[in-house]
């Protein structure tokens, strides 16, 4: 069973519960991008508060997911990163330039709304 993806209005919500395997990440990416297209989602909120390690692979996968979602018209916000994880990532030079960040799910929704506020019509 993969990571559950919940639909919430115009947004998709994913809570990564424990450390994903490489194939787990690939499956999540495929599912998420497919669902975002299917539901015409405008934003994806990814909760990482349960993750204790964020290595270069996970970072690259998250960044890749965000870039793919942006191609399909959805913004990504990563929420709930633990301070230790954030610190380790900064020290390792790992960055998430294509996602928004938020303290928790509440702030994450606000950030998503902020990012998706001006509705961009496909011309």
């Amino acid at each position: 069973m993969g990571v559950p993806i919940l639909k919430q209005g115009e947004y998709l919500v994913v809570a990564i519960q424990d450390e994903l395997t490489d194939t787990g990440w690939h499956d999540l990416r495929t599912d998420l991008v497919a669902r975002a297209g299917k539901y015409r989602s405008r934003g994806v909120l990814i909760d990482v508060s349960a993750m204790e390690v964020m290595d270069s692979f996970a970072t690259r996968m998250l960044d890749g997911i965000a870039r793919m979602l942006r191609f399909r018209g959805a913004e990504t916000v990563v929420a709930g990163m633990q301070p230790e994880v954030a610190f380790a990532m900064a020290q390792l030079g790992l960055r998430l330039p294509n996602t928004g960040t938020a303290l928790d799910m509440d702030d994450g929704f606000i950030e998503l709304q902020r990012r998706t506020r001006p509705v961009t019509h496909v011309r």
Partner: protein
């Protein structure tokens, strides 16, 4: 403390041991007289006179008896441990009392003079023995000074370490200005250790106080080199990963010049001239979600879709 530490006895050749034994046999009968002479010499030394005056004759006699016994045990019976422990304690006490190291050398040279006068008496009848005794004395005194010096320096270093720790503890406050807005004024040198504490404190405060904006003011940082710049940029990046916007303020023209000269990249760090400007920017950001007016030193965030 000194009784829990073990000291290695000096590695001595048998003839050196014999010489030290002979030295003690020569020294012990004169010990009281030498001590008296030494105390008189100390009266003229500004650093020692108050210490000597503070002791009663009984205390002094007791102390002399004790050190003579320790020396006897070390030199005659090869029981170095208590003797060295005593020297170690002495060194620690001098360091804590702030006695200067040079004043110790004054005492030692006074001591040498006392013994040399008596060695001359020996030299009149037995020159080779006097030479050997002189050598033994020099060896012993060098060793004693080495031991006291080590304890002295170790204690001083310990004091310095404690002070550094104290400075670090007080020097990374995180202040809340109002809801969601924090300020960290950084004062003093930023090294790797401090940068870590600072970042940890910042991230903890962001989570605890649910901050969305942080102004990092570096007006009080005297030197910013590429390493420090890197540390600060890491702190900003870590805070961003927690969902907070960090603005760095207080980069003086000298520091700006340094940063440009060394080519340091404050990647992803927004900068504003002064603290006031930084607070204004964050207030605007919190109210409208816009960060216009801040200079961002990186290009990779352009696609983030701000505003």
């Amino acid at each position: 403390m000194s009784d829990t530490v073990t000291f290695t006895a000096p590695a001595l050749r048998p003839e050196e041991k014999a010489a030290l034994r002979d030295f003690h046999h020569f020294y012990e009968p004169h010990a009281a007289a030498i001590n008296d002479e030494l105390m008189r010499a100390c009266q003229d030394m500004p650093e020692w006179a108050p210490i000597i005056r503070a002791m009663t004759p009984e205390q002094m006699a007791e102390q002399n008896k004790r050190s003579l016994a320790l020396q006897r045990a070390a030199l005659l019976e090869d029981q170095w441990q208590p003797y060295l422990a005593d020297l170690h304690t002495q060194g620690m006490q001098y360091a804590k009392a702030g006695t200067s190291f040079s004043s110790w050398f004054k005492i030692i040279s006074a001591y040498r003079n006392c013994i040399r006068d008596r060695l001359q008496d020996v030299a009149r009848t037995d020159m080779p023995r006097a030479t050997k005794l002189g050598e033994a004395m020099n060896g012993l005194l060098d060793m004693v000074m080495g031991f006291i010096g080590e304890a002295y320096l170790a204690t001083k270093e310990q004091i310095i370490g404690q002070q550094q720790e104290a400075i670090r503890e007080i020097s990374t406050p995180v202040l809340q200005v109002r809801d969601q807005l924090l300020i960290i004024p950084i004062v003093g040198l930023v090294d790797t250790h401090r940068a870590r504490l600072l970042t940890e404190g910042l991230l903890k405060a962001i989570r605890e106080r649910r901050a969305k904006g942080v102004v990092m003011d570096i007006t009080g940082v005297p030197i910013v080199d590429s390493k420090v710049a890197n540390h600060l940029a890491q702190a900003c990046e870590a805070a961003r990963l927690m969902g907070a916007l960090v603005v760095m303020t207080g980069i003086s023209s000298e520091i700006a010049l340094t940063l440009v000269t060394i080519g340091a990249q404050l990647q992803g760090v927004r900068t504003v001239g002064d603290l006031q400007g930084g607070i204004e920017l964050i207030e605007r950001f919190l109210a409208t979600g816009s960060t216009s007016g801040a200079v961002e030193a990186s290009h990779d965030n352009q696609a983030r879709g701000e505003g």
